[in-house]
Symmetry: C2
Subunit: 362 residues, 2 copies
C-alpha cells in the first residue's frame, strides 16, 4: 500500500496546531502530544499516512487514544509506553497484530499520540478518524453509527494496570471506562474499536490527518505573515466567525472524569455590548448569546487567540484572553438523526433541538 504521505519530524508543528483547532477546545494539550510524536519519530523514523481504501478488507485497524480530563493530562504526563502497552494487550486478546493505527478523534493529544504509537511500532496510520473533531465520550464516533463495537477494549495506566472490557454496547463501554479512568487518577491510555479494513472503509470519517495538516499549515503560514488565520480558515473550512471579545469569567470543574464548565466573553469591536457564553465538557459544545444559541454540538466551536489565531483549549482559557469564537459545520454523518441522538445538544443536557450553524447565523 503506497502511503499518501509521510509524517516527518517537521510536520508535527502543523499537525499539533491543526489538531488543536479541530479539537474544539478538548483533546488535551497539543504541545505534549507533539513532543511525544517528535520523540517517537526521532527514535523510529517517519510514519506513513495511508488511504483506508488501500487496506485489505481483513486487515486489523486499531485506534489508540488518551482518555480523561484534559486538565489532568496536563499534570500527569504519559510516559509514552502506556499506549503501546494498551495496543499490545489488545493484540494479545485478539490473537493477532494490528496492520494500521487509527485516531479515534481529530484533536489535540488524540491526533498526535497515535502518530507516536505508529512510529514506535512501525505501522502506518489511516487518514481519517472517528469524529472529524473531538468529543468527550467514547461512544461518540461514526463507528457506533455503523454498528461497530468499542470492545474488546483495553485501558491501561502508567503504573502497569491494564483492564480489558467487553460490554453490551458502546455507551456501557464509556461508562465503565470512565470510572476506571477516574480510578487511574483521571487519565488513561486506551486501545479500542478494533476494526477490519472493510469495517473501517465503511465507518470512518475520511481525510482527517490531511485536513489537520492543512489547517495547521494555514495557521502557521498566516501567523508568519502576521495575519490572523481566522480569515483564511473561514474561507478554507466554510466556517463562521461567530464572535470576538475578552474572556470575563471562566467556571471550570473536574467532575466524573470530565473537565466541565462555562466561559463568558464580552464583545469587542463589532460585538461591543454583547456577551457570548461557551459551555464545555472537555470540548466546547454550545455557544449562546442573550438572543439564543449561535452554534451547538455536533457543529464545531473553536476558540482562537484574537491576535495570532492560536487555538485555545478549554483548560488554557484565562480571564482577560482576547479571543475569536469560530464555528464550522459538522460532518454530514453527525447531522443525521442517529448522529444527533449520539452527540446532539440534548444528550449533553442542553434544552435545545439541534439547529445547524448555517440556520442559526443566516
Amino acid at each position: 500500500m503506497d502511503p499518501l504521505r509521510k509524517i516527518e519530524l517537521e510536520d508535527m508543528e502543523a499537525i499539533s496546531l491543526g489538531g488543536a483547532f479541530l479539537g474544539t477546545g478538548g483533546g488535551g494539550d497539543p504541545y505534549i502530544g507533539k513532543l511525544m510524536a517528535e520523540q517517537a519519530i526521532r527514535d523510529s523514523g517517519p510514519v506513513d499516512v495511508i488511504d483506508v481504501d488501500t487496506l485489505d478488507d481483513d486487515a486489523l485497524v486499531v485506534p489508540v487514544a488518551m482518555m480523561g480530563a484534559p486538565t489532568v493530562m496536563l499534570e500527569k504526563l504519559p510516559r509514552g509506553t502506556e499506549a503501546i502497552a494498551a495496543l499490545e494487550a489488545l493484540q494479545l486478546s485478539l490473537g493477532r497484530k494490528a496492520d494500521a493505527i487509527f485516531c479515534i478523534e481529530a484533536g489535540g493529544l488524540n491526533s498526535t499520540i497515535p502518530i507516536a504509537v505508529a512510529a514506535s511500532v512501525g505501522l502506518p496510520i489511516v487518514d481519517g478518524d472517528g469524529m472529524g473533531r473531538a468529543f468527550p465520550e467514547l461512544q461518540m464516533v461514526s463507528m457506533t453509527m455503523h454498528g461497530i463495537s468499542a470492545c474488546p477494549m483495553v485501558i491501561s495506566d502508567e503504573k502497569g494496570n491494564a483492564l480489558a472490557l467487553n460490554t453490551v454496547d458502546n455507551l456501557s463501554t464509556e461508562k465503565f471506562a470512565r470510572v476506571i479512568t477516574v480510578e487511574m487518577g483521571g487519565a488513561a491510555l486506551i486501545a479500542l474499536y478494533p476494526m477490519t479494513g472493510a469495517e473501517a472503509k465503511r465507518a470512518i470519517l475520511r481525510g482527517s490527518m490531511s485536513l489537520i495538516h492543512s489547517i495547521g499549515t494555514i495557521i502557521n503560514s498566516e501567523q508568519r505573515a502576521n495575519r490572523n488565520p481566522a480569515i483564511a480558515l473561514a474561507d478554507k473550512l466554510n466556517g463562521v466567525r461567530l464572535f470576538e471579545g475578552r474572556v470575563k469569567d471562566v467556571q471550570r470543574a473536574t467532575q466524573g472524569g470530565f473537565a466541565r464548565g462555562t466561559c463568558q466573553i464580552e464583545g469587542l469591536g463589532p460585538f461591543e455590548g454583547e456577551d457570548l457564553t461557551l459551555r464545555f465538557q472537555n470540548e466546547f459544545l454550545l455557544a449562546e448569546t442573550d438572543s439564543g444559541p449561535r452554534a451547538m454540538t455536533p457543529d464545531l466551536i473553536c476558540l482562537l487567540d484574537l491576535e495570532n489565531g492560536q487555538p485555545i483549549t478549554t483548560e488554557q482559557i484565562r480571564y482577560g484572553f482576547r479571543v475569536i469564537v469560530f464555528a464550522l459545520p459538522a460532518d454530514p454523518q453527525w447531522r443525521t438523526e442517529a448522529g444527533i441522538d449520539l452527540v446532539g445538544p440534548r444528550y449533553f443536557g442542553y434544552d435545545f433541538d439541534y439547529r445547524p450553524l448555517e440556520a442559526l447565523n443566516q
Copy 2:
C-alpha cells in the same frame, strides 16, 4: 480424588446457616444463596467437597464470588448464570479449564454461590476459603499474604458486561473492581485468584466448608431442641458471649459500594445499664462499650437472635431486635503482622491497635 463428603440438597439449610454465622454480618443474604445452590443441585446433582491435598500441584483452582453491598444484593437477585459467565471468561483468558471451585470467603452468599457454580459446571469444591470468615474487600484473603495475585480477574453483571482485570497488586484489584461493581449497579459476579493446586495447598485457610456445615448443624439442632445455640457454639468454637441487649439505633448507608454503619445495643439481663456499639463495613468490624473495645477485626463478631440463635446480617438489623453479640478468635494467620496490616482495625480507620479478643475480655 476421593471427596470428603457430598453436598446434597438437604445439607444446604445447615450450610446457609453456618455461612451466615461465619459471615459476621456480611456476605449477603444467605437465603438467596441457599435457593441458588438448591436449584443447581436439583438440576445437576450433588457437589463433591475435597481436601486441598488431594489436588494435583498443577491443578487449577478458581474462586467465584459475588461482590458488592449486601443491601444491593437483596434487591438485585443474581440470575445464577453470571457467576458461570465470569468463570468461563476467566478460563478463556487462562486458556484452560478449572479443576476445582473455591470460596473466597466463608460467609453468606459467598459460601453458597460457589456451591451453585460447582454443581452447574460439574466440579468439586475445595474444603477451605480465603478468609475463614467474611471481609469486605478483595485483597483481604490469605492468598495475598502468600503473594498470590487476584488477577487475572473477571467481573461480570446480569446484562452481559464482562471486564478482565490485570493490576499491579491486590489492593489495586479491589479499587478497580469496586468502582466497576458500583457502575454495575452495586453488585457483580467475580472469578479471581486463579491458583495452582500447589499454591492452594500453601495459602488457603482449610476446613471452612466442613466448619460451616457443623456450625449450621449445631444451630439447627439446638433450635429444634428449643435451646439457644449460643452456648453450644461458644463451647465448640472457643467463642465469647460478649453482650445481650436490644437494638436501639441503626445507622446505615451504601457508600462507595459498601454497606457502612453502626448499630447501638442497650444491655438486657446481666448487661442492663450498659450500651454496646457495633461498627460495620458489610461485616461487623468493631464492638465497643463506654469502657473501650470488646472485640475488633480480624476477630469475628457475630450477631445472633436472642431467642433462637439465628444469625443476623448487617442489612437485617432493625430497631427493637433482641440480640446476642458473639465473638470468636480469628485464624492465627490473621493475627500475624501481615494479617493485621491487611485487615486490622487501623486499615478500616479505627484508631486502635489490634488486641486479641481473649486479652480484651479476660
